[in-house]
Every structure is written in structure tokens, then in C-alpha cells.
């Protein structure tokens, strides 16, 4: 029986390998895009179902209440909804953990807005909208830590960094800072913050707005040491792979950009959070 089982497993793996190349079905942008609400591919007809994680952090959301329209991501979601023709009451929020947002199978949301960075690897599993925020990485530390004064590129490699699993900051740490000590990777940002407070790690690398919120609200005696130059990283809305809704949402984002709405929302919600000196990795 052992042999039979082995043959079967081997066959299964082979099939899996074959299937790898053929699962993607890119959305076909048609020449004449009909984005009226009845024509949209929605979870629930007439409603725009938007997901984010809980707790939803500042300054992306406010008071952990996505439906209040406050905070940058909440405001962007409502701006897109309005652009598509939805009223505020036609937007329904659902909770989606980051880890399950890219699971196979049907999604329970039309799009997920949760500070998710776009990458070509990730585009194998889901579809992303155009950028609604261009991300820089920043360093948060206690004011008493040596990194506050000694952060030349050569100094930076000597510190112990911490992060939340799933952030692109870990890739940034590994590819640009190249630290000598293995970074610590926690389940949540809150765990990383506790580790920072108790000096288990020297610094957290995270996107600039989150870093500024952390240093000002979550870590007593915390400070943002600086932010790194852009790498072209950006946040996009996450859709089920191949969802044709992406095209209409992208069109909405284009219109919001040309009306400078997105720019104004960034000024309104993030300006206090993104004016940070730039340091080199």
C-alpha cells in the first residue's frame, strides 16, 4: 500500500505543478467600460462591500471604526465609492484578517483596503488596484537608543530590528539594511511595540505614517529616527484574482487623482505623519 500511496502523491504533485501555470485569468479591460452600479461585479447587488482588518489602526482609520469615514483609508474607500455612484449607506464594511485576505476560494468583500503593498509575487494570487498611497519605510526607536544618533548606513546594520509578520518592511530590512542580527518577527504590531518598549529590539521598521503614529501615541519616549528613500513601493486595494471590478475602481482612482482628491486626503489625514527627515539605508 505504501508504494501505491507514493505513486499517487507523486502524481498529485505533478498535476499541481502543471496547474501552477494555468490558474491565472487576467481581467480583460474592454474598450467601452460600463461602470454603472447595476453592471458592477459585486458581492451583494447595489452594495459595495469593503474589508479591512480589526483593529483598524490610525492614521489609516480612526477609533477602530472604518464606517465613520475618518482616517485616510476610510476616506479613500468612501471617495472611491462616491466616484462609482454609491451613497454612504451603500458601503458595507466587513472584517478580513490580512492572512486570510489572499486565501483561495470565494471572497466575502469587493475589495480589501488594509495597507497592502503591491508586488508581482502577490499578483499571482490576487488582483490589485492602482496605487492609492506611495510608501516609504521609517525607523521607530526609543529616544534612549543609540540608533537615534548613530544611523549612518554602516551603523544601521548593527541593530536588532523587529517587525510584524506580513509587512514588506522585513524585506526592506533584509535587502537594504542587511543587519548582522536576525530580525524578530511578531504576530502583531502591538507585540513588536511591546518588544521595543522592553528593549528586546532596538528599532521597528514600518511605513512612515504608522511609524509616526507609533512614536507619538503608542511608545512613551518613542521617536521616528527617519524615513528611507522611496523604493517605488505602493499600497493597492486587494481584489479576488481576475475580478473585473478592478477596471472600474482604477478608473475611479484616476478621476480622483486628476481632481486631486487623493492628494487632498493625504494632506488632511497624513501630513502630520509623513514630514520626517530622510536617512539612507
Amino acid at each position: 500500500m505504501g508504494k501505491k500511496l507514493f505513486v499517487l502523491v507523486a502524481a498529485t504533485l505533478q498535476l499541481a505543478a502543471i496547474a501552477c501555470g494555468s490558474t491565472s485569468q487576467p481581467a480583460q479591460p474592454s474598450a467601452s467600460l460600463d461602470c454603472s452600479i447595476p453592471k458592477l461585479n459585486l458581492q451583494t447587488a447595489g452594495l459595495l462591500t469593503v474589508a479591512t482588518d480589526s483593529p483598524a489602526y490610525d492614521p489609516w482609520f480612526s477609533k477602530n471604526t472604518p464606517a465613520n469615514g475618518q482616517g485616510y483609508e476610510s476616506a479613500v474607500a468612501y471617495a472611491i465609492a462616491t466616484q462609482l455612484g454609491f451613497s454612504k449607506n451603500q458601503v458595507k464594511w466587513v472584517v478580513e484578517q490580512f492572512d486570510s485576505s489572499y486565501a483561495p476560494g470565494p471572497k466575502k468583500f469587493d475589495f480589501d483596503i488594509n495597507e497592502i503593498s503591491v508586488s508581482s509575487d502577490r499578483e499571482q494570487a490576487v488582483s490589485f488596484s492602482k496605487s492609492y498611497f506611495d510608501v516609504n519605510q521609517a525607523v521607530v526607536a526609543l529616544k534612549s537608543n543609540p540608533i537615534v544618533n548613530a544611523h549612518n548606513p554602516s551603523d544601521l546594520a548593527n541593530y536588532k530590528y523587529g517587525d510584524q509578520v506580513g509587512t514588506t518592511s522585513l524585506a526592506y530590512i533584509q535587502s537594504k539594511i542587511k543587519p548582522t542580527k536576525t530580525p524578530a518577527v511578531y504576530n502583531t504590531l502591538d507585540d513588536a511595540v511591546s518588544a521595543l518598549k522592553t528593549k528586546q529590539i532596538d528599532a521597528i521598521v514600518i511605513d512612515t505614517p504608522t511609524a509616526q503614529f507609533m512614536a507619538s501615541q503608542q511608545v512613551p519616549n518613542g521617536t521616528v529616527v527617519g524615513q528611507f528613500p522611496t523604493t517605488g513601493e505602493h499600497y493597492g486595494l486587494l481584489f479576488a484574482k481576475g475580478n473585473p471590478l478592478v477596471a472600474c475602481v482604477n478608473q475611479a482612482i484616476d478621476k480622483l487623482n486628476s481632481a486631486r482628491t487623493i492628494n487632498n486626503l493625504q494632506t488632511q489625514y497624513l501630513s502630520d505623519y509623513i514630514s520626517i527627515p530622510v536617512i539612507q539605508p
Binding site: 500500500m1 501505491k4 500511496l5 499517487l8 498529485t12 504533485l13 498535476l15 499541481a16 505543478a17 496547474a19 501552477c20 494555468s22 490558474t23 490580512f98 492572512d99 489572499y102 486565501a103 483561495p104 476560494g105 508586488s119 509575487d121 502577490r122 499571482q124 494570487a125 490576487v126 523587529g162 509578520v165 506580513g166 514588506t168 522585513l170 524585506a171 526592506y172 530590512i173 533584509q174 535587502s175 536576525t182 530580525p183 524578530a184 518577527v185 511578531y186 504576530n187 507585540d191 513588536a192 511591546s194 518588544a195 518598549k197 522592553t198 528593549k199 528586546q200 529590539i201
Partner: protein, 289 residues
Amino acid sequence: MVPTSTDRRERRSRLLGGRRGVVASTTSTLLVIGLLAFLLLLAPGSAEVRHTFFSLNDMRRALIGDPQRGLFSVAGGLVLNIEMFLIAEVLILVLALVIAVIRQLHTPALLPIRLLAVAYTDFFRGVPLILVIYAMGFGLPALNIEVISTQEPVVYGVAALVLSYAAYVSEVYRAGIDSVHPSQAAAARSLGLTEWHALRFVVIPQAVRRVVPPLLNDFISLQKDTALVAVLGVIEANRAAGIYSSTVFNYSGYTVAALLFLVLTVPLARFTDYLVAIDRRKRHGEVAA
């Protein structure tokens, strides 16, 4: 009594239920495998599931890792699991035996220590391991005491594993000690051995031999539970797999971690079965051929 070849044949035919039994067992096994294959290969979402969980390319990348891109090797992580397991195992065996012996001593003056040992086992068997790991890994550094608060996360993780598992294992030891007939200790005492010496030279050696299979069972469980130390930021196999899956949005790294843990635990599980079989044969008065 040495088992003859007839004995063996009998045991074998009892297991499979004779010739008709062989047909039945083969059919049922094929049916189950067929059903699993059907689910994996022909279900509507199977292509997506296979790609997300069993993509060979992703499994290879997760296994090897790519540190430059923030992807840590799952195999490299497993080395840390094995290190944690080996260190914890030795400490657990020692600490658990000490606790079991304390609970077995009858000296009246030692009552407070006995009560402490009882409280210890009750507490650590009752509190979920993950909470012990959290409490030690985030609580002790917050105390801000020299040495105790400045250890690496992996040290707190191993300490939590030791505290929790020693409580279970001490109970296994205690069951072993209780299973040694009281006449053994009585005979030892009548020969002039002290209570401690009777325990040390007569009871414990017999007790430990009897509880080896259940001890190994606990250690199989310990091997997997080393993965929980990841909550302290330690990049072991499971965390490396988690980093991979959340970076590239493909769960195949978890499949690699699961396979590696199986490679680690299955031999120990089979070895435990083997020891149990030997033990059973001995108890039935047989001698292994």
C-alpha cells in the same frame, strides 16, 4: 516463551482478518485514497487549492529561503526547532523527575515543598502553553531586572516549554512510581535502605522504564509545540513559512513546514509504538526473539 512462526502468522491474520479480510481492507483503503484524491483533484476549487498549498516552485523557494528578499529558509528555521526541542527535553526530564520525587516524599517537615509541587503541576497543566510563552517572553523583559530581563526571546520560549511540559511529565513519572508495587519499597526498607535510597535505587529505575512510551509521546508533542515560540519573534520553521506565505500570498511554505515536522515526529512515533509493543510482550511473559 519464544514466539514461533505460527504465533506470528496468527497475529498477522488476526490484524487483517484472514483472506476475506485482506480483500476488505484493500478495498476500503483504496476507497479512502480514491476519495481523498477526488477531493484534491476534481473538486471545483482544486486547481486553486493545489496552486496555493502545493505549488512545487513555492515549496522549493520556501524551503531554501531568500534572505535578501526577507524570505527565511523553512529548513533553517527547523534547525532552531530541533535545538529548542533538544535543550528543553533534557531540562524537562530533570525538572519533572525532581517534582515527581518531591510529591512522593512523606517526610512531614517537607509538606510546604510538597504543596508547592502540587500547586506547580496544577498551575502549569491548567494554563495554555501559549499564554505561558507570552507571559514569560513579554512579561519578564518588562520587569527590567538584570540577567532575567535581558535574555534572548528563544530563552524565554524554551523556559516556558520546560515549565509547562515538566508539569505534565512529572505526572507521567508519578504514575510510573505509583505503578511499582509497594512491596518493592517495603522490601527495600526492610533491608535497611532509607526512604530516599529505596526510591532512588529500587522504585525509580523500575518506574522510569515503564513510562518510557508515554514520555516519548509527550516529546512528540513537544517537538511540534516549539513552533509556538514564534510568537516571541523567533524565526523558526513555522514563522519562516508564515513570512513566506504573507510575502508572496501562497501557503505552500506551510506545507513544507508541515512535511518537515512530519519527518521529525513520525520516526519518534514509530519508535514509541515499537517500545510499547516490546513492553506489551514482556508483560505477557514473552521474551523478544
